[in-house]
């Protein structure tokens, strides 16, 4: 009798651990709906992004009917950038989020033109764009040159791995990752690294494709994802496989609540998420205190 109680207690304590272990393990070994070895995943994702890099922005526009621009606007307005901030945008390859942040900081400076303090701070603003894929970074650098930001000291392009950042502890005011965390091998490592590099009071913001639960809309969204998007990828970018990976990886990513609890487990406080377009996209945020 006592033995049964003990085993039940043990099982209750172990099985949640096993559950979360198996979920994380499954993310680390899933490449869309395929099962792969952990060591291979990073390479396979790398290949996907090297393939899509040149058409990345165009395809984003097509797939989301231009909505991705609004989502990124929303992400950056949530962040509330300020002059003098040190910001890290991870998996920010082509620079969408970084350019928006820079624009806001510049507009604050223009509005406060008479304020000498702000001018100095403006000089200190640094936005680090970190991406594991050099092709994506190159596209981003070219876009910066096109916008006249080629010589801007505030934009720094760094190649690096989100799971092992080369930045110091407590050095960043803000950390964003837009449409990138789905592709990493170990989500919890990325979250731990994010916590490490943020200063006290720093904010973590994640924009990611997420799960839709609304009844009819869910079915429509599934049809759109699995029938339209790979076909679009084939026609526009000549690469069906990569876009098949894209839609599958969305389904394998943890749902909103689960991801939010993972963020909280990494040590962040005031963790919350906001669904956009019924859950097609979610912005998760947390603060390091």
């Amino acid at each position: 009798m006592a033995l049964r109680l003990v085993t039940r207690n043990l099982r209750n304590r172990i099985s949640p651990k096993l559950c979360s272990a198996s979920l994380l393990h499954s993310h680390a070994t899933s490449f869309g709906f395929k099962e792969v070895r952990e060591e291979e995943k990073s390479q396979m994702v790398g290949k996907v992004f090297s393939n899509v890099a040149s058409n990345y922005d165009l395809m984003n526009d097509f797939m989301s009917a231009g909505l991705h621009r609004l989502w990124k606007d929303r992400l950056v307005s949530e962040l509330s950038p300020f002059p003098g901030m040190k910001h890290l945008d991870v998996a920010g390859g082509t620079g969408d989020v970084a350019f928006r942040i820079l624009e806001i900081v510049n507009s604050i400076r223009r509005r406060a033109l008479q304020d000498p303090i702000n001018d100095d701070l403006q000089e200190e603003t640094r936005i680090y764009v970190c991406d594991i894929n050099q092709n994506m970074l190159n596209i981003g650098k070219n876009r910066a040159i096109e916008r006249g930001l080629g010589e801007a000291k505030s934009l720094v392009w760094v190649q690096g791995d989100a799971e092992a950042l080369s930045f110091e502890d407590n050095s960043m005011d803000g950390y964003t990752i837009a449409f990138g965390i789905r592709n990493v091998t170990h989500i919890e490592k990325v979250l731990t690294e994010a916590y490490r590099v943020l200063k006290r009071g720093g904010r973590f913001l994640c924009l990611e494709l997420s799960h839709v639960e609304i009844p009819v809309f869910k079915e429509l969204y599934d049809i759109y994802s699995f029938s339209v998007i790979p076909r679009l990828g084939e026609v526009v970018a000549g690469d069906r496989e990569s876009y098949q990976y894209l839609v599958e990886s969305i389904r394998r990513f943890p749902p909103q609540e689960k991801f939010a609890s993972m963020i909280a487990d990494a040590g962040f406080q005031k963790v919350k998420y906001e669904n956009l377009v019924g859950g097609v996209v979610a912005i998760h945020s947390g603060i390091k205190i």
Binding site: R200, G201, A264
Partner: protein
Amino acid sequence: MYRTVVNRILLSGGGRRLLRQPDLRTVISSSRFSTTTETQTIPNRPLNPPDSSSLSSSSTSFQTPPAAGDVPRHERKNPRAEYEGEQARVLQASLRHVLRLGWSEKAMIAGAKEVGISPSIVGSFPRKEAALVEFFMDDCLQRLIDRIDSGEELQNSTPSQCIYKLVRIRLEMQAPYISKWPQALSIQAHPLNVSTSFKQRAMLVDEIWHAAGDETSDLDWYVKRTVLGGIYSTTEIYMLTDSSPEFRDTWLFWIIGERCF
């Protein structure tokens, strides 16, 4: 009437801190006035020691982490309180910059830098400038309550004198910020913020009547508070353009206003 009863019960429990209701602010801002479609908040985790097993438990039970040293449960820091505490520290420091920078994000950023926290935290305050103004209003209310509790000035006063003294004390708290107070009023009047500022003023007026010894429990309860609220607001606005020494004219205005009613 219910509020007075609830207040008395809370009072007997010790301390009027509960009237502050910081949770109310958070609840209001996140659920009612969020302009987003949905926003959910996750309860904070207690801090785990760095050497805990690599997988954190997915259950939300608050088990004391092993090998963390013997930290008694009641001493373990409540993460939610930490954030609220830091927010309060930043806002308190920001008040010192209001005269120079107004009730604005810039003042709050300056406050955060003063306290040694990244100004990014300002981005997480609900309705930013309103957070600063509401903090100030709550702070003034708390100080007023403390003055009432200490009791010396209100002994041997008629209710009318009591109300006069309390309103004067309260308005004098705003006097240092009077040059920027119109901005604060306009922030409070913004549709998104009106509900919270109304609640704060209702609490203020209720406190004053309660301190003056009001025991009514019928329709008069509402009438008294509405009237006091009205005269208080008018006096507050009069104070904005009063340049007499130590706001003498404002106190005169108050007495006249009170007599009329």
